[in-house]
Symmetry: none
Subunit: 225 residues, 4 copies
DNA sequence: AATGAATGAGGATTCATTCAT
DNA sequence: AATGAATGAATCCTCATTCAT
């Protein structure tokens, strides 16, 4: 367990610091000194900073990917030939997202990391995530497709990303928003509160009427219906 | 034009590089060498890298803030005592957001920058933006409040941020998403297309039913209604 | 008087900053910004930082040199062929040193500058002072020689420097020492108090018995006498 | 010996350059290039330039402080209840000051450094020295107090600093003064010669008559007696 | 007489990485 | 399996000085 100890300490420290400051702003010195580990240990155990970043994600995404596959297996087994409703799909994903990091008590960190993965200039990371975990996402999207037969493919693609933005933006900036909500409205929101709030919004967004086509005269506001 | 030239070249180069790589990943050397300007010029004209980052934002947000105030003035003048509908408010904001940077042909850059402002570890930047431009946003939020009288204040707060996430996430990751959309669905989306697509989604999200309260028995799924 | 104004402001500011921080630690930017003068003004009016340092000293040493020459003229006229007592010479120097900068209310600054001139690595400055003001000092030393006929030349040379050290060290570190004296002994000493204290010490030091010669057997401690 | 080698080379080089030019005027590049050591080595081994400066002093003052404590222990053991004469105290200090750096063949450097510590704008250094070595000095002052019962406390405070100035000023400017003494009087003085010369002067200064009080009528020149 | 702009050299410090042990 | 030492490259920033106006 000697190796495991050092490796774990590095990962534990790295994920917190990355989540707090971002990747470029967190130096290996920051990590190793806070983890009380030798400076060379990161390169020794992981090979490079990039590999460390990927390892941090893998520690979340590997179990997530596995559980989500299992959950979808179960869902499909239960529904057989029947279509799985959108709400159930979303609920399943939410549950899995909440379950996995909850075991490590660091949902917030995971969310921040996800946000960073999209916004920080780490091409290697996006590539890595896509290669390693692309298929679960693809499987999920296909099920969503079956659940929303009325939605053109392109429209569904965009709406899923709209919602991804909603979720990642909100959850990754959670601390700041929570502070404001507390100060302004006296609300102490938990992540579960937030998921509760997100549910109707996401469903409504996915079910929103189609946009007017560009060529169409704009005198009828599509959202007015 | 001597000063204007150097200063402008620095700003033009900086905003592009910042948008491409982020702040920490862009060095002053990167900027000055690409702008073919002396390395010390940034510190001479702006004082520090932080101040340069703020100046890059100011060049967008100053005119935006001004135009948006004007647009809201006009809206309020036109509606008098009457309530301004939510759709009109959103439309006005969208128009202003699209107009201002369009004049500089760099809407995409502006969107990336906005996204970075939220996700990158630049506390000073968030503080700066809040101090300089907080009041336009506050004014807008107040008008949204009047336009959505049925929405509890806290709920409106969260939904606005949900939508902010949607917009910023989508527009700041635009290039990557556009590539995928093109490859998968043969769609060449312009930003205006995207705004058209966003409209019904945002409206539906704001009008979504209220979430079930926590104390309520959870056997009724709120989104099932 | 336009030029005079800028030049004076620069000199006034420079002498204070030099006295506070030393020469290398004071940048032209420090000086010009505090003096609210253009950065290029120093080089324009003085040619270089070195020349500014010299000018700062000249503003004190020119009048000092002149007054001291006059005072010595007067002394010699009064004593004619008679020897001028050491005490009178010292008193005359003290008076001149106190008089000149007192007119500019900056005795303390002058003393700090003198101390710096000796300790800071400004070869050009020592050379400049020696060239410009060496002759007054030489004249004074010659009178001291006549007043202390029993003292070997080399011994006198060293004792004069011992005393120079006493005076410059004390007066240039005055602020710190004054603070301690105040805290520990409840004394608020003025520079005039200090001079009063210095007088008997300097006189006793100059009149101290000659040291034992090196060749002499060391069983008699010279200071025991 | 790998570490010791680099660290020692840095310290050896730094103390010489600091003594020659002062702290601000000596860059880390100066030091590392002359010591043929990597530029980053200073920050690696010492952390910062400030810490290097302190380390340079510590290498002298640590053994000095230790030896001086021992010497005073021995003195007090020998004299028991009896008072230790001022001459013996001064002699002891002189001996210790001469002994310690002599082992490193760099008395001159040590003296220059001591002078710089007082005159250069390195607040951190004065603070460091005071914190680390204040107690030896305090102990010495207390013994001086017992050896000069006739001297008011404040007067003793000032006279000790007068003499400190004499010694530091002379010894830290030694090279220049030695050159002059050689040229003018054909004297090659060693440091031991200088100490021999300092002895009677310092003793006489400490035993000088008290100054006239301020309130006293000034028609009697106090030093005329 | 004076100044805003600009510059090249150099400042201390931090970086991720390598290597001998 | 692990580490202390070391390094070359790069970081941001400040410097005194110059120059066109």
């Amino acid at each position: 367990m000697a190796q495991s100890d050092t490796v774990t300490r590095i990962l534990d420290t790295a994920e917190v610091l990355f989540a707090e400051r971002g990747f470029a702003e967190t130096s290996l010195r920051n990590i190793t000194s806070k983890a009380r580990v030798n400076l060379a240990a990161v390169n020794y155990h992981f090979g490079s900073k990039k590999a460390l970043i990927q390892a941090v994600f893998a520690r979340y995404l590997d179990p997530f990917s596995e559980r989500f596959h299992e959950a979808l297996d179960e869902l499909q087994a239960r529904h057989g030939e029947q279509q799985i409703p959108l709400e159930v799909l979303l609920e399943t994903m939410a549950t899995t997202v909440l379950t996995v990091p909850a075991e490590r008590n660091s949902l917030k960190v995971f969310m921040r990391l996800l946000g960073l993965a999209y916004s920080q200039a780490q091409g290697h990371l996006r590539r890595y995530i896509h290669e390693q975990y692309g298929d679960v996402f693809t499987r999920f999207v296909e099920l969503v497709r079956q659940a929303t037969p009325g939605l053109p493919d392109a429209e569904r693609f965009w709406r899923l990303h709209f919602m991804l933005g909603t979720v990642i933006f909100t959850l990754s900036g959670l601390d700041a928003l929570r502070d404001i909500a507390d100060k302004e409205y006296g609300e102490q929101v938990s992540i579960r509160d937030l998921v509760r709030r997100l549910r109707p919004v996401v469903v409504a967004a996915m079910h929103a009427p189609l946009p007017a086509t560009l060529e169409e005269p704009s005198h009828v506001h599509p959202e007015a219906g």
